[in-house]
Symmetry: C2
Amino acid sequence: MEEWNKMAQYGDAFEGKKILITGGLGFIGSTLAARLVNLNAEVVLVDSLIPEYGGNFFNIIGIKDRVKVNIADVRDVYSMNHLIQGQDYLFNLAGQTSHLDSMRDPYTDMEINCRAQLSILEACRKHNPGVKVIFASTRQIYGVPDYLPVDEKHLQHPTDVNGINKMAGEWYHIIYNNVYGIRACALRLTNTIGPRMRVRDTRQTFLGWWIRSLFEGRDIEVFGDGMQLRDFNYVEDAVDAFLEAASSEAANGKIFNLGGTEIITLKELAALMVEIYGSGTFRIVPFPSDRKVIDIGHYYGDFGLIHQTLGWSPSTSLRVGLANILEYYSAHGAHYWGGSDDPVR
Amino acid sequence: MEEWNKMAQYGDAFEGKKILITGGLGFIGSTLAARLVNLNAEVVLVDSLIPEYGGNFFNIIGIKDRVKVNIADVRDVYSMNHLIQGQDYLFNLAGQTSHLDSMRDPYTDMEINCRAQLSILEACRKHNPGVKVIFASTRQIYGVPDYLPVDEKHLQHPTDVNGINKMAGEWYHIIYNNVYGIRACALRLTNTIGPRMRVRDTRQTFLGWWIRSLFEGRDIEVFGDGMQLRDFNYVEDAVDAFLEAASSEAANGKIFNLGGTEIITLKELAALMVEIYGSGTFRIVPFPSDRKVIDIGHYYGDFGLIHQTLGWSPSTSLRVGLANILEYYSAHGAHYWGGSDDPVR
């Protein structure tokens, strides 16, 4: 697997700095943690380990002696009030991320993606107003695009409860920046892929389930006509964006799209995965009705603003990214498949 | 006071229909109720009578024998589950409307403007999916305008917690329309003025406080430089918009701006009020800092979409509206001033 080593880029922005990562045992949080410990930061990971979410101790196996893990739920106000104290940076990644689950249980999605965000920001305001906060938002806020690529001037018209609540959570951050001077910014992530991504079911990404299907010898099921366009970010590129946003005052109060440079149809993506894996099959199947009503159609993002403001652009090709993912799950898949009980397909 | 009688316009859309109005003892809710009972609808008013909000039994003194009042909070899920049953229309007007209060207590604002909206829509989905819902949203969602007049294509970038939560509450309605077929639409109200508006303090509108100041012989205090542009809708015109949205299937899933035709600076408005009242004074005072940080600057709305779709446009001049308001409070002010305890100025 390729090595990422961009220490030079951030100088000593994170050297000896105290850092809190919510969702720290998850896919992106743990990858970010690994980068930060290599930059000599003191990292605390907060995670609730809700089984259906992305937290997984195996994600930090390589860095477990260099981070502190604190099991807590971001909805737990008193714990968050304590944990935020003394931190230099808060990477705020914990969230309910499943679109389908947000429709089945809108209250839980609201408690995590709205209320907990408010209480985290209130904790910052009351206990650590000097902290800098980087919030993981989502392209889901845009809903079905009016035009492509989608830039930050695109209207927000989400298609599901998760998109609405993430929109609220994001804007709480911007308002706490603007009104209270809590330095905060938001990154609207597109499909983020990489080692440690959740592959047990389709709750976080369809791609995770495709990976599991490939390894378990089932057809990859591509919903709809397979012609939906998508962009992807390799997780180390997404982590770069978080670090760049954290280390620049120019990011404060801003919302940035991430986005990929290789726009691809889902059918082409499935074929590419089969090619890289060296075996497997995919087939086009009708959209399940509960997914169809919240589907966003074609999507790819314009990341010009973050490129201009922070110099960020993704550098990992889709082919390299997918190869790394397949290599990772070939070695470590057993830690990720989970049981066969009720995976959400 | 002028009479509003547009029965012909809606035909028999509301004749004998069962109607629930949340926030029904408030300013707009009670005015809507009066119109609906004159259209021979069976009207139930839900209101929590939270002292700082707009509910006031005097608002329905003229129709109290023709409506049913049910005291309940929209956060009370079981009550709402029951009350929604059998209704043909839900005019969903209950909300926390104070921008300042939303900053001081963001959780309460979230519980009312987010969570309660979700539970009302879940109640519709489970107990009365055939109901039609008209949601009272707000121009506050737009924040500081990027251009004027503001149309519905304007980006949503609220400046306070209330604006964020109302944005979420609005979008829940749109998604329940799109995903579950619960017919719902939203009206983004601008400054709505008229008899029965809250005048006790500045919680709902600055204009209410101006009225009280005028009657109590104090200077009207105009914040900033007084050059801020605003538009206004007279309450009966806003009520027309609610009734037109309710009676048209073309409104389903839509978001409409309301807006006024007379754009006026706050200073001119204060002068006009003094002129109509026949006495009084106003003075320009610095913006209180807690208001300045959430102020939206100039605002006026483009109501072209609702005009094209539903034929709505406001018909009451600002002068007539203000004259009606002053006449109303001259006769009934004692029912509205409230105590002098802790008015939010």
